[in-house]
Amino acid sequence: MSAPLASRRVANLAPLLDPSHADWERHAATRIALAPTPLGLQPTPYVRNTWKDRPYGALLALDVASVHDGRGWALRASWEGVSAPGDFPDALAIALPLAGRPVLATMGSAEAPIHYLRWRADREAVSSQIAHGIGSSAAGPPIAAHAAARAAGTRWQLVVSRPLGAPHGAAALQAGVSTQIGFAVWCGGNDERAGIKAFSIDWLELALDA
């Protein structure tokens, strides 16, 4: 198990909603190793046959840092791979366990669902989804989640924020309480979408300062 991702308490979250704000320099980023989702887990023969000889999820490193101010929580992520506009957008999802001990690779299960916050480069709003297994994600609890993204050359800089607590049954985030976090990244330029993505194989512990 690699070192936990700390979520430092800060006095005021507002400035840090901007991914290029200088205050982020005070929070060292943690590098997360990602890997392509196994071909065998792709749910349909067509997807498997089409992608078996085609590389995907090649993004191996995601740098993340996290803060909270007792009310709201924010995560800054940056990674290589800004795509030109095309059929599919670049995207990033943050996975938080909702109940039980969900397995990231199978996107949770009936009794152990996962709550995802999904950002897409072609939309402003962050979508909140609940998954009970591969291909099952459906609209999740309404949550005032926001995202701000900036393409610095070929590198994405993104901040996703949401309130602490568990509003309307969202995955709980509480100051001083540790939980787990996972990630997935899609490179739109490579036609990546659905299960064709890079993802963090294991949960990473997320420790929120008290």
Binding site: T44, Y46, V47, R48, N49, T50, G135, R193, A194
Partner: protein, 345 residues
Amino acid sequence: MSTRQVAMVMDLNKCLGCQTCTVACKTLWTRREGMGHMLWNTVNTQPGTGTPHGWETMGGGFADGEARPGHRPALDEYGRDWAFNHQDVFFGGDSKERLVPNGGAYGKGANHDEDTGAGEYPNSYYFYLPRICNHCTHPACLEACPRQAIGKREEDGIVLVDEGRCKGYRFCQEACPYKKIYFNEEEGVAQKCIFCFPRIDQGVTTACSRQCPGRVRFVGYLDDPAGPIHKLVNVHQVALPLHAEYGTQPNVYYVPPLSPPKLDPDGNPTDEPRIPTEYLVSLFGARVHEVLAKLEAERARVRDGGESELMDLLISRKWLDMFGPFTRHPREAQPVHFHPKRQPT
């Protein structure tokens, strides 16, 4: 597999290439935002590029039972939804203004090779090929979707996209070997021919079949002995699937086209039909030879005063006999209009 399968037979000896079917479908279903370029029903001149252009080379379907990768057609390949400058031409005040779509950069339309065909004068050849979604028994689109957002209705085998589940991954567009699935960029969902199920549910046949002035389309259940489909596909066996080798078991069948004889270099008629039979075999399979011969034989028998159930069936003196059980008048079936967001399934 659904318990019953609704199907269509298109008699290519009657198709006029007039596109009334295309207009009937478009003005009924694909009028909303993001559907401008969509033609759930298309009619193309074969041989030709078809819609989307070159669809027969775009893969998908199954090869030896294995899902085959396919190309995802781009907007230009379907033919874009052109915007015209009527406002400037009529009221712009500049008499030099010309009516030109997209400022002149409009690319190839959906029917850009209309009436062209192939061969050399005086032996050129072409015929019209209307196409809709085949509502396959073994649908490649349904089996490709990681979200199981495409379903096949139990009662009649109609294949529908559940726009509530669809997230716009577009694997279905690649997997369909007939390239009959469109993508709505504004609503972010795949959309396709729905076999007019809101009409079928009320006993009214599809708009494309009922509004066809050429009386080309038979509609009914594949297993209904009283209906025209069973007779043409299973009994007389003159209706053949298109590109059966794609492995999806399509449920739209075609009566292949007869054609006038080729002329020899001196301009005298030969016995060879102008449309190379091998070309028709490449589309409808080896039984084309047998079917064309049967059509000619039955015609000759009637010409000599004999009877022919097949000819009476293809003539279909009473128009409504073409639509199996779906003979109710659309006027009485209210409403025959639906919005996908409120899909009944």
